[in-house]
């Protein structure tokens, strides 16, 4: 499943890049993180997720697999929980537009297990919420 979006941010590309390339920054912006650990090229986190009427905890691992300063970042993620597996490949593209930066992202998400059956129904809403939370967290941290 491919999810994507873009947003114009009122900051210069370098500032945004510095923020997202730091795993600590990104990790603390993930919503409902219960436990966080640094690993090589990334971090592992225990995240509480609510999908529709279901609530569960996921053990997740994120690694920065490709880093091309200051435009391109690829993050691979794996999460296990609720008897299901989620795989994520997130690509972020930054492009400078005068004083602003266009932040575009494409996520390839695959879900298997019981969650797959309800996931498709709610995943867009959940993804939208997570992304919105991430952006607002990022913006407040960039201030």
């Amino acid at each position: 499943m491919i999810l994507k979006g873009d947003q114009i941010l009122d900051y210069k590309i370098d500032k945004i890049w510095q923020f997202i390339v730091n795993t600590d920054n990104l990790a603390k912006c993930l919503p409902n993180v219960k436990k966080l650990e640094k690993i090589e090229n990334g971090f592992s986190a225990k995240i509480e997720v609510t999908i529709g009427f279901l609530k569960g905890t996921f053990d997740s691992k994120f690694t920065y697999s490709e880093v091309k300063e200051p435009n391109y970042l690829k993050i691979n993620g794996e999460a296990k929980g609720m008897g299901s597996f989620v795989k994520l490949s997130l690509q972020i593209n930054l492009s400078q537009e005068i004083d602003k930066t266009k932040f575009s992202w494409v996520a390839d998400v695959s879900i298997t297990g019981p969650l797959a059956s309800i996931g498709n129904r709610y995943i867009n809403d959940v993804a939208e919420k997570i992304v919105n939370d991430l952006f607002s967290c990022m913006l407040s941290n960039l201030k």
Binding site: K80, G83, F85, T112, P114, A116, S117, R121
Partner: protein
């Protein structure tokens, strides 16, 4: 037909009392002290290697007793026996995944806990590392053997069979037109109200397992369980509770649960119980066989079929749990309702990385019927004929009945032509054809579809000898025991397992008929117990068999008992036996009027035994095992066999409308004409027929199991796998055109599996509705989203 006193009467269904008043006892109602509960951690993938299982955390959870992994099973169990000879016969099947998972939902770990909630919660504590493999989900991909489901047999093809009669090549040459087509029958399930489950108890002193389950053919699955547990059948007692909440064939393959629970009961010395959740039932409780047909049919201009050649690929899922029986069962209806003589069918039974299939109402014949009935409409459209005309042209004629088909099946009567005329009358066929033209002008998509289905019943197991001639099973049998107890009550035991077919009512009528008593005086012992009830090895409720099989056994036992009753009465009344008959429970002489009540006679027979004639053994009890003669009892080298006993048929007609704005299919009118032969109780028969029609409507319009590219099922719950509800069936009209069966004891035919009728009728109707748009449907299921796209494709493009 009118000579019967009780057979044929719509007497009130007494079985309904229990479920309607909440007094029914199902498997999950049986509680034993000290029971522990199982939950299965199931595979999230269709195909993956199991690399590591870590369940240490689960064991630490309060209430968890034990964890068993599939990896350990070979230490305790043997694989299940297989029907085919090697190589397919070498397939290794355990009830849980050992080295790799082969289908979504395959049990990998079993957690045993003090209660079922703890067991289920503990599944989250288990960590399994998988190496994900590419699954093979498409049957036509699977036959290429590029991805193997079972490496140990080196192929995904379990069996290939060829049926070849007449001269198909010549027939196709002589045809005016040869039509080639492809049809796909989809996977769906039965969604019984009660899911599958089992409970096992181990008696260590006698080394005996008692297995409670809602299995519908317990004695037939027993050898599978015994092979796995490495014990003789005498060491396993099989019990089913008084009530089973529907099965529709699916509750045959739950023997895998029974095996695991029996093992755990032995290991833990406690009763062990497991009942599927709804999600587990939809996922793994048994799907119908998906089947792909490639058809080549030769026709004359007037619609007469000269010959047909078919290649069929049957998707049986990852393990042959009842298969490859389905690879031969369809041949009961090889030629459908048609008098075609030149037929060649090549049939592949194929493994895929999908859950194992099970019989589902209309098992294996429903797919084949679908192919025939879709084909008739396609022929009609190609030739510019009415679908009715093409059917009438090719139907077996009433004067040809009983009809012996090219494969040796013996159709036991029927009048397809008159039944179809009746259908057209009640459907108001001509009126709707006119209306259709009018509505089309208004931009409304109305379609009319008809379809027939052969609902064959009381199977002959010798058909599996086509797969393996040495496989030791053939024919069919059922056992009954009837006793007039010392108090004069009539107690009946039968080996069947009632899963909602109203056996009490029907069986009471049959026994009452023979014994000359009232049905309400008869008590049928509900439930099955291999140690205290009677059974034959084929006992159970499957293959629409009991209108014939149980009836045969009951008549045999009742006649034996009646003979004894009359013999004793003759002695006591000093009357010739030929003067005596039983009326309302009293043995009366037609000559002198002398009489004795059955009650008084029973007291003498059981307790005052010195009053009996010297050559009569005490007691009033009789036992009988019925075995029908199929006339062609065993297959010959050309697969000629009569592989079932009765061939009831139903004709279905529907008028539907496809809503342009939503793609929803609305049934405007639905008519069913059934020919179940002599109906023992018309209310019971009608229930079976309506239920089957409902299941067919579900299959055509609702039920379809969706898989993602990993083989995961995307709709395993009632949120998006929605059963048909009675409010959507309000347009159904049911009528009968009765011809008695020429093969069965009272002229009755088995029914309840006519669900294929509506499937082809609805698909035919939808295609008919969308004809102006040139829409061709390939599958046996339509969903609104797909239809909406078809209906609006021009607008969408714009």
């Amino acid at each position: 037909m009118n000579e019967y006193k009780w057979i044929g009467k719509p007497i009130k269904i007494k079985d309904d009392y229990y479920p309607v008043t909440g007094k029914a006892t199902y498997l999950d109602d049986i509680e034993l002290p000290n029971t522990a509960y199982v939950a299965f951690l199931r595979s999230p993938y269709g195909h993956a290697k199991i690399k590591k299982i870590d369940y240490s955390k689960a064991l630490q959870r309060k209430g968890v007793i034990y964890v068993l992994t599939g990896k350990e099973l070979p230490n305790y169990l043997s694989p299940y026996p297989q029907i085919p000879k090697p190589p397919a016969g070498n397939l290794v099947d355990y009830p849980m995944a050992v080295e790799k998972v082969r289908y979504y939902g395959e049990p990998v770990v079993a957690v045993v806990a003090e209660d079922k909630y703890t067991a289920e919660d503990a599944l989250e504590d288990i960590d399994i590392e998988y190496e994900v493999l590419k699954p093979v989900l498409d049957v036509e991909e699977a036959v290429k053997n590029e991805i193997l489901v079972h490496e140990e047999i080196g192929t995904n093809i379990i069996w290939i069979g060829e049926w070849n009669y007449g001269d198909v090549e010549k027939a196709l040459k002589e045809a005016d037109l040869v039509i080639e087509d492809k049809f796909i029958f989809h996977r769906y399930t039965a969604a019984p109200l009660e899911t599958a489950g089992a409970m096992a108890v181990y008696d260590g002193i006698n080394d005996v397992y008692t297995i409670y389950s809602n299995n519908i053919m317990p004695m037939f699955t027993l050898p599978l369980i015994c092979t796995a547990l490495r014990v003789p059948p005498s060491k396993v007692r099989m019990i089913t509770p008084p009530n089973i909440g529907g099965s529709f064939g699916t509750k045959i393959i739950n023997y895998t649960y029974m095996t695991v629970l029996a093992l755990l009961a032995r290991l833990l010395k406690r009763p062990i119980k497991y009942v599927e959740t709804r999600t587990e039932n939809i996922t793994n409780g048994g799907h119908s066989n998906g089947r792909t047909f490639y058809v080549k049919v030769g026709v004359k201009k007037d619609g007469e079929i000269t010959g047909i050649s078919v290649t069929a690929y049957d998707d049986i899922g990852a393990y042959p749990r009842y298969e490859p029986a389905g690879a031969v069962v369809w041949s009961q209806v090889l030629h459908g309702m048609y008098r075609v003589k030149n037929i060649k069918i090549t049939f592949y039974s194929v493994l895929t990385n999908k859950p194992p299939t099970s019989p589902v109402r209309g098992y294996s014949r429903i797919q084949h019927n679908f192919m025939w009935e879709r084909l008739m409409d396609r022929i009609a459209k190609k030739l510019g004929l009415d679908p009715v005309e093409v059917r009438l042209k090719n139907y077996i004629r009433p004067e040809e009945m009983p009809y012996e088909g090219p494969s040796g099946v013996i159709y036991d009567g029927g009048n397809y032509i008159e039944a179809l005329k009746l259908l057209l009358k009640y459907l108001e066929y001509d009126k709707w054809r006119e209306l259709q033209k009018e509505y089309r002008k208004q931009g409304r998509y109305i379609g009319i579809g008809i379809s027939g289905v052969i609902d064959s019943g009381a199977n002959n197991f010798a058909q599996v000898k086509m797969i393996n001639k040495d496989f030791p099973v053939s024919g069919n049998s059922e056992a009954a025991l009837i006793m007039v107890d010392p108090g004069g009550d009539i107690i009946v035991r039968v080996g069947t397992t009632d899963s909602g077919q109203s056996h009490d009512t029907t069986f009471s009528q049959v026994v009452a008929e023979i014994l000359g008593v009232n049905p309400e005086d008869i008590k049928i012992i509900r439930g099955f117990d291999s140690w205290s009830n009677v059974w034959a090895i084929h006992s159970g409720s499957y293959a629409s068999r009991n209108a014939v099989m149980a009836t045969g056994a009951l008549i045999g036992a009742a006649r034996r008992l009646k003979e004894k009753i009359l013999k004793i009465a003759s002695f006591l009344l000093k009357e010739d036996e030929s003067n005596l008959d039983i009326n309302n429970g009293v043995i009366v002489s037609k000559v002198t009027g002398r009489s004795i009540s059955l009650r008084d006679l029973a007291t003498i027979a059981w307790t005052d035994v010195n009053l009996l004639p010297g050559d009569i053994e005490p007691g009033l009890v009789s036992f009988y095992i019925y075995r029908p003669d199929f006339r062609r009892n065993l297959p010959d080298e050309n697969k000629r066999i009569n592989n079932t006993l009765t061939y009831s048929y139903e004709l279905h007609g529907v008028v539907i409308e496809v809503d342009k704005d939503t793609g929803m299919v609305k049934i405007l009118k639905q008519v069913v004409i059934g020919d179940p032969g002599i109906m023992i109780n018309p209310l019971v028969v009608e229930g079976q027929e309506i239920g089957a029609a409902m299941h067919g409507n579900e299959a055509a319009l609702n039920f379809r199991v969706y898989f993602d590219e990993n083989g995961a099922i995307l709709n395993p719950n009632f949120l998006n796998y929605t059963p048909m509800t009675i409010d959507r069936m309000s347009n159904l009209e049911l009528y009968h055109y009765i011809t008695p069966s020429t093969s069965s004891p009272v002229g009755a035919r088995g029914v309840g599996e006519g669900g294929g009728g509506p499937i082809a009728a609805i698909i035919n109707a939808v295609e008919d509705a969308l004809e102006p748009l040139g829409v061709k449907l390939i599958m046996s299921n339509v969903v609104s989203e797909e239809l909406w796209k078809e209906v609006n494709k021009n607008d969408i493009k714009g």
